[in-house]
């Protein structure tokens, strides 16, 4: 067997050598494999165990339902309602394009929406439902439900959405919610907020976002790699948002809104004893429900381009000259600094002149009002009385006296977006205008003109303090305990009464400018005012927020409280371009007061 060269024993020995080498290699490689598995299974076990857990347990948030908002009488103002959205799970759908074409016959989709869907489809994992359309109408839900079998992969999903029950009259108080923007989301707590959450954008919704939003619950879902749910468990139930009860009286709010008729402007009614805001209207309002799911371009265009600026919350952002409504405060300042008293009179000859200056500061009444005391100076709104008084007070004392009333400062009202306004002073003018203060500017400050920029909410806060004779109850919209404070200056009861008497005379005296709103049922104290529109054009600090109209007619102002002896309501009305406070604004104030004070008397007769 074999060739002559064959040496069977050598051959066998070489083979066995080769086998021994192979055995060694086998042993080494097996040892390496065992080492590898030991490394993965023993040394790195906890890491991979965690990865495996992460794989199978997905934690989802259960959205907390947003806190409801009620008026002071428990009437629901902001609700959460179930609505439906259309979802598409690409994995379960067949021909998506064809189905979408069919679907558009039932549920219209714009070209923009469609291209967004197509974009999302490229990035969305196929097992993850994609939102096709939010907020389907009832008809759309019904039409889809009937033909759902034709649309595999498409489904409707219920979700809660905000709904405002009195969207227009409450629009500026409650504000609205909208989908959280990327920037907002980045700033929020990621545990509480998801990228598809709603957040308050304006008003109460924005200011009380933290209370209203609630805390989401955690739902643990055991799933497989295909996204199929094997089991679900609630690890942490959601904590719903806290309900809020407003100080607003819906009936009064509606009456206030209606009292404006065709006028635009702002009205605020407060309870001076508590600081509670009973009504706060910025007219016109807007349908706040439009904003919740992303307002349509056309609607938004209309709201932003309307000359009436319905989105502008005049009550907290509108800056106005207080005009003659500042006079009661000036009179009080004069009394406080003992420049005038109840017996003091001043002769109005129709104009006032600073010593050595030619410029005449006029009365509104040609020829003047003759000899007037404090009460009559308010009743007839005698300008020269206040030119002279302001000149004697000087701008520093005027500023220092008015400041504690809150003029030119944020009131801290609990809605977002309040503007500060301006209470003029030497310091302010130097800082913001880099100019010295002129005596003539003090003179016109006496009748609330010049650099004043005051918001209606500031007027309301000041009036509440004034009507409560120095008691400061911070204004607020959501019911909560507030700390009552007092004006820092000691104003005597007698001085308070004189100032109040002046405002009572405005409405009740034969010569009062507001006598048209006199009531037999209760004593109303009031003061009219005119806010010059043209004067503001030189303002640049508040130019943006300032509601500069095209028309040059002045704004009509009226402040009032009633019953004068024991005030239950204080009202500020700004009727834009109403020209005369007593004519345009006073009747609105009267309607508001009536709506509030007559209500309890009407109830027993029902």
């Amino acid at each position: 067997m074999g060739t002559p060269l064959k040496q069977p024993h050598l051959e066998r020995r070489i083979f066995q050598q080769r086998l021994w080498v192979a055995v060694m290699v086998v042993v080494v490689i097996f040892a390496a494999l065992i080492g590898r598995y030991f490394y993965l299974q023993v040394i790195k076990h906890s890491y991979y165990a965690e990865q495996a857990e992460k794989n199978r347990i997905k934690t989802n948030r259960i959205k907390a339902s947003r806190g409801l908002i009620y008026d002071r009488n428990g009437i629901l103002l902001a609700d959460n309602v179930t609505t439906y959205r259309l979802l598409l799970t690409p994995e379960k759908a067949g021909n998506i394009e064809q189905q979408l074409t069919e679907l558009r016959k039932l549920i219209p989709l714009t070209a923009d929406e469609l291209s967004e869907i197509n974009l999302q489809l490229q990035y969305n994992p196929i097992f993850k439902p994609l939102i096709i359309k939010d907020k389907l109408s009832d008809q759309q839900v019904a039409a889809f439900a009937v033909r759902q079998h034709q649309f595999p992969g498409f489904s409707t999903q219920p979700y809660l959405i905000r709904q405002y029950l009195y969207p227009v009259v409450m629009s500026h108080v409650i504000g609205y919610v909208g989908k959280i923007t990327e920037q907002e989301y980045l700033l929020e707590d990621k545990v509480r907020y998801a990228a598809d959450d709603y957040v308050g954008k304006t008003g109460i919704e924005s200011y009380y976002e933290q209370q209203l939003h609630g805390h989401p619950g955690i739902l643990s879902t055991v799933i497989n790699a295909k996204g199929k749910i094997l089991s679900e468990e609630i690890n942490q139930p959601p904590k719903n948002g806290k309900p809020l009860t407003l100080t607003i009286d819906l009936a009064l709010q509606q009456a206030t809104y209606e009292a404006f008729d065709e006028n635009t402007g702002s009205a605020i009614a407060v309870d001076p004893n508590t600081g509670e805001i009973l009504a706060m209207v910025s007219k016109p309002g807007f349908n706040s429900n439009l904003f919740i799911n992303g307002i349509s371009h056309a609607d938004y265009q209309q709201l932003t381009t309307s000359p009436e600026k319905p989105l502008f919350n005049r009550s907290i952002k509108g800056g106005y000259e207080p005009g003659s409504t500042i006079k009661p405060y000036m009179a009080l300042a004069g009394l406080f600094y003992q420049l005038i008293d109840e017996d003091y009179t001043y002769f109005s000859r129709g104009f006032f002149q600073l010593p050595g200056q030619a410029r005449k500061y006029h009365d509104w009444k040609r020829g003047g009002h003759g000899q007037v005391d404090i009460v009559n100076s308010l009743a007839e709104s005698v300008n020269v009385f206040y030119y002279d008084l302001a000149n004697r007070l000087g701008i520093d004392r005027i500023h220092d006296f008015l400041q504690p009333f809150g003029f030119g400062q944020l009131t801290g009202i609990d809605v977002s977006g309040e503007k500060q306004g301006i209470l003029p002073s030497r310091g302010w003018k130097r800082a913001f205008r880099n100019m010295i203060w002129f005596p003539g500017e003090t003179v016109i400050a006496g009748i609330g003109q010049g650099y004043f920029v005051i918001t209606p909410i500031q007027m309301a806060q000041a009036l509440a303090i004034f009507s409560a004779k120095g008691e400061i109850n911070p204004l607020h919209l959501v019911q909560k305990p507030v700390k009552t404070e007092h004006l820092p200056m000691e104003i005597s009861a007698k001085d308070w009464q004189i100032a109040h008497d002046g405002m009572i005379a405005v409405v009740n005296a034969a010569n009062g400018t507001g006598r048209s709103i006199r009531s037999d049922d209760y004593l109303i104290a009031g003061k009219s005012g005119t806010s010059q529109v043209y004067g503001k054009s030189e303002e640049d600090i508040y130019k943006k927020s300032e509601d500069l109209p095209k028309e040059l007619r002045n704004h009509a102002l009226f402040i009032a409280f009633a019953p004068a002896e024991q005030p239950q309501i204080a009202v500020v009305v700004v009727a834009e371009h109403g020209s005369s406070g007593s004519k345009a604004a006073a009747p609105i104030a009267r309607k508001i007061i009536d709506a509030h004070l007559k209500k309890p008397q009407e109830n027993p007769s029902l």
Partner: protein, 357 residues
């Protein structure tokens, strides 16, 4: 004499194999349920029958029939390229009543042929037989590569090279050829298909593409690692049961075992494989003639290579090449081929015993 020959084949190897097959079925039940176990069991019975039948054959017959078997293999490999069934872009199957994979046949017949070429050649082998062996290897590997099935082509080529190595090729030549092979690796890259390039790239950095190509290996490592020392328990492996682990009844069945039976299970399995390989090498060591020695040695070593590639691949040590875990992974042809090759090894052992008797 006839009675003895029909007796139970090598009890050590047989019991090790049966133990491994039974254990494989237990894991397969967890990975794929009773349906797969039933089908696999049929294949195992078929394979064991083949194993038993082959065991009865006298080893001289293998030597005798080697050239014919090899020619048949070549013809089938050519046929597969001409009239083969295309599955997943590769022509690997030949449909002749039943589907057969000629490359599986090649796993046995190529080492047989190379051993046959060296059966009379001196030690160390001379150039003519070396060249003949290289030609035969290149022919079979080339045909399989054309299907295309690079993985199998390489593995079959390696089984042939094992024969050459065992035949006593001088170390100098071995080292020289290995160096040449290493140098030609960049050239190989040029011949790779895109999916193969991706596999290699994914192996080098699985996290680069965690959702697609890297997914398999990441999930497999999670399955293995999360199994820990003693495992999550039979049918309790979340990676497997929740379908995170891909192909868990075929290529990734060792991940299932690792997850559910832990490091202890892996150790037991490796021990079984180690014992099987050692037993086979022992048989080869004691075989009486060159042909038997070379064939048994090469078949044992290529079995070892399958184990290493699969275990290395699913644990992230080697690129994913689609080699099943021998005798455990679900799938018929590979079990059949492997049991037949063990049948050959057992036959060699029996023959040796008979001679001794």
């Amino acid at each position: 004499m006839k009675q003895t020959r029909l007796a139970f084949p090598d009890p050590i190897l047989s019991s090790l194999l049966v133990l491994l097959l039974a254990g494989g079925l237990v894991v397969l039940y967890s990975a794929g349920g009773w349906v797969l176990v039933e089908r696999q069991l049929i294949r195992i019975i078929l394979g064991l029958t083949g194993f038993f039948v082959i065991t009865q054959i006298r080893p001289e017959r293998f030597e005798q029939f080697t050239p014919y078997l090899f020619v048949i293999t070549l013809l089938m490999l050519v046929a597969v390229l001409l009239v083969g069934v295309t599955v997943k872009g590769a022509q690997r199957w030949l449909d002749v009543g039943i589907s057969i994979q000629p490359s599986e046949l090649g796993k046995i017949t190529l080492p047989m042929m190379v051993a046959w070429l060296f059966r009379h050649s001196p030690i160390p082998p001379r150039w003519p037989s070396l060249l003949a062996a290289m030609t035969v290897i290149a022919l079979v590997a080339g045909l399989i590569y054309q299907q295309p099935d690079l993985g199998t082509a390489i593995l079959i080529a390696v089984s042939g090279l094992f024969v050459i190595y065992l035949a006593g090729l001088s170390w100098r030549l071995i080292i020289g050829m290995s160096g040449l092979a290493l140098l030609s690796l960049p050239l190989l890259w040029y011949f790779l298909h895109d999916y193969q390039k991706h596999r290699v790239l994914t192996f080098l950095n699985p996290e680069s593409d965690p959702l697609n190509r890297g997914w398999n290996i990441i999930q497999s490592k999670i399955a293995i690692g999360s199994g820990g020392f003693s495992g999550k328990g039979w049918t309790e492996g979340t990676q497997t049961q929740l379908d995170f682990l891909p192909e868990h009844s075929t290529d990734f069945i060792l991940s299932v075992l690792s997850e559910e039976f832990g490091f202890l299970g892996v150790l037991l399995l490796f021990t079984l494989y180690f014992c099987i390989i050692m037993r086979c090498l022992y048989i080869a060591y004691n075989a009486k003639n060159t042909y038997n020695r070379l064939l048994c040695g090469a078949l044992s070593l290529i079995f070892f290579v399958y184990v290493v590639i699969n275990a290395g691949m699913i644990s992230g040590l080697l690129p994913v090449v689609g080699v099943p875990l021998p005798l455990v992974s679900y799938g018929g042809t590979s079990i059949l081929t492997l049991l037949l090759s063990f049948g050959i090894i057992t036959a060699v052992h029996k023959h040796k015993k008979l001679i001794q008797q």
